[in-house]
């Protein structure tokens, strides 16, 4: 069976103006228990690649520049 690309809105938002992933920071990617964040090849900034969030907040709490915000996933908010 072929696969489709179905859109979902993701709860973790990164302020690209504040994110310093392009300087080599990977803190949010490192601490996520579900391993759902990545650094974009295009922008050099962190983003949520997989919509598999426990809305637990280490990414936001440990970000050195306050760039990450964890929202409540739409299905349960």
């Amino acid at each position: 069976m072929p696969l489709a690309n179905t859109a979902t809105s993701v709860p973790v938002v990164v302020d690209e103006g504040k994110c310093i992933a392009d300087k080599g920071c990977t803190v949010c990617v490192d601490v996520c228990p579900l391993d759902v964040l990545r650094i974009s090849d295009l922008t050099g900034k962190a983003y949520m690649k997989y919509d598999e969030c426990w809305y637990c907040m280490p990414c936001e709490a440990d970000c050195p520049t306050g760039a990450v915000t964890v929202n409540i996933p739409y299905l349960l908010k």
Binding site: P2, D30, L34, C56, I72, L75
Partner: protein, 578 residues
């Protein structure tokens, strides 16, 4: 990152600890502390800095046995009664005796516990009988404090490796584990003289009512690998039919925290603002009353704080919104809920396995030893009932100290090299397909079936239908699941554990032909508790490649339970006032 690479390396250690949440770091720390010459590897699917049930911290100890407030004898009695008599007391009693020294050790790590004006621990009463709840004002620092100790003790940490199977040796002992890198698909074989499993609950078993796969009560990374791996290695698992079901904030699915709010005067109420249970401590009997209230027309059920002084309600809000699950505040803000003004709607959680709150776990004795020599289990996945975070720390310590001694006495047990090739092929199969069914769809279907058919009340016919449906899903999983990158490969491996756990939940529940533990094992076709036939453990294991159950006698009690005490947890419903 995430591209699948081919690779296989092998390392050796004295003790392998799998799982870097709560019990695991303590086990590794204690093992190294006892024998600084030994090599200890701590393997973690995520990152030890922020993994496990307490990734953000914990707001208190739920089961602290502190001199002057309670005794190990009282606590052992309370947990035996809460667990309907099915309790090997030796492990609970040992925990109760040891946990105070662990609290003092955690204190030295920099984790503070609440003290009153005289400098004594400020312990609160939440349980039905005794007093065991101790708040942690800086509970958000737990993981950082643990990590510092691991570094200090020079434990070897291996992050982003997910163990998929245990290795057992030709002499029948634990021989190590096979793991896959969650970002590259490369394999790591860890040979060990002893293995300690601290892999958490099976928290992705039922589907949350929100429908969001990762909106679980447990950390969603805890998908039941420990249970599945122990099963496939031939270890026995105890009382899996004693499900975990918890009272939670509806939709948010985090704890409403009557443990925090109760001592301030908060309580669980129905939609008429009436209290209907006397005790908010989580037990199967309490959950049965909760369920009955929801179904009676008097629901929904709420956490009620709005009768308290505004400052008190705001203080509770401040605790609940900063520790353990801090996004709780954001959830309430989104709906405009204020604790001082509004009641907070609650609901019951999806089912799971978790001895931290109930009793379902890999069968262990008071040394955290499983039924396989050299294999240990601690924390939410081991069978010591109601052991919570402090139980994970305390029993993790027990496991670490016993395992390091065991490892000093034995040599590596040889394993069958073929097992590694077979396991690699099993794990990588979803990457060999061009298209098929992605792991998230298989997972959704399994967990939807769990909700439709397995969550209590347990009906025999529904269980049989579920087993048939799950067998069909297993065919799909084995023959058609597709993973396009290493991350999906991790999810695919998790799905296999989730399905194994669903099968075990069904099989164990059908075996125990009585009702026990309130809602946790409410068998509609066998509605009464039957102490004649079933005052025993049910042990599930793999025999000749198939699932099998047996009865195991409860060990003779160390602390006797009087006849008029043993049903105390059934007398929780608030009686009508005369």
């Amino acid at each position: 990152m995430d591209d699948i690479r081919s690779g296989l390396s092998e390392v050796e250690c004295d003790v392998l600890v799998i799982g870097g949440g709560t019990a695991g770091p303590m086990a590794a720390y204690k093992a190294r502390k006892k024998n600084p010459e030994a090599t200890v590897i701590l393997l973690e699917k995520a990152n030890v800095k922020r993994s496990g049930a307490i990734s953000m911290g914990m707001d208190g100890l739920n089961n602290a046995v502190i001199p002057g407030h309670s005794t190990p004898e009282q606590y052992t009695k309370e947990i035996t009664i809460a667990n309907d008599g099915i309790c090997d007391q030796a492990a609970v009693y040992k925990y109760a005796q040891n946990c105070y020294s662990i609290i003092q050790e955690l204190d030295q790590f920099g984790i503070r516990f609440q003290k009153d004006e005289t400098g004594e621990y400020d312990v609160k009463k939440v349980h039905h009988m005794g007093t065991y709840v101790l708040p942690m004002p800086n509970g958000d620092t737990v993981k950082k404090a643990l990590y510092r100790q691991l570094r200090r003790m020079r434990v070897l940490i291996s992050n982003r490796f997910m163990a998929t199977r245990l290795l057992t040796g030709k002499r029948g002992r634990a021989a190590g584990a096979i793991a896959v890198n969650t970002r590259s698909g490369e394999f790591l074989v860890i040979r060990a003289k002893a293995v300690i499993m601290c892999m958490g609950a099976a928290g992705r078993l039922g589907l949350p009512t929100s429908g969001y796969l990762f909106g679980t009560y447990e950390n969603a990374a805890n998908s039941g690998e420990g249970y599945a791996m122990a099963y496939h290695a031939g270890a026995k698992l105890a009382n899996l039919e004693c499900f975990q079901i918890n009272p939670l904030i509806k939709d948010y699915n985090g704890p409403a925290c009557a443990y925090v709010a109760g001592p301030f005067g908060g309580y669980t109420a129905n939609s008429r603002n009436e209290r209907f249970i006397e005790c908010d401590y989580w037990s199967g009997q309490m959950m049965q009353e909760f369920y009955n209230e929801l179904m009676s027309g008097k629901g929904p059920v709420f956490l009620k704080l709005n009768h308290l002084h505004e400052d008190t309600a705001n203080h509770i809000e401040q605790i609940l919104h900063t520790v353990e699950r801090p996004t709780r505040g954001r959830f309430h803000d989104g709906r405009g809920t204020k604790y001082a003004r509004d009641m907070i709607e609650m609901h019951i959680s999806e089912i799971g396995f978790c001895s931290g709150h109930s009793a379902s776990g890999v069968y262990v004795d008071e040394f955290a030893r499983t039924t396989i020599p050299g294999l240990y289990a601690a924390g939410d996945m081991a069978s010591v009932p109601h052991n919570y975070m402090l139980g994970a720390f305390t029993n993790g310590a027990v496991a670490g100290e016993d395992a390091i001694d065991f490892a000093a006495e034995v040599d590596f047990d040889d394993y069958d090299g073929e097992a590694i090739a077979v396991e690699r092929e099993r794990v990588l199969a979803p990457t060999r397909r061009e298209d098929g069914i992605p792991p998230n769809q298989i997972e959704y279907k399994i967990r939807r079936l769990v909700n439709d058919y397995l969550q209590p009340p347990k009906v025999t016919k529904k269980y049989e239908i579920c087993q048939a449906r799950l067998a069909e899903v297993r065919e799909d999983m084995e023959n058609a699941m597709v993973a396009r990158d290493a991350h999906e490969l991790m999810r695919a491996a998790e799905v296999a554990s989730i399905l194994d756990c669903a099968d075990m939940a069904a099989f164990a529940s059908l075996f125990r032909q009585e009702s026990r533990w309130g809602l946790y094992h409410w068998r509609v076709d066998h509605p009464e508790r039957d102490d004649e036939a079933w005052n025993c453990h049910v042990l599930l294991s793999k025999m000749d490649g198939a699932m099998s159950c047996e009865k195991r006698a409860v060990q003779p009690y160390i602390i006797p339970i009087a006849d008029d005490e043993k049903d105390a947890y059934y007398n929780q419903r608030v009686r009508a006032q005369a």
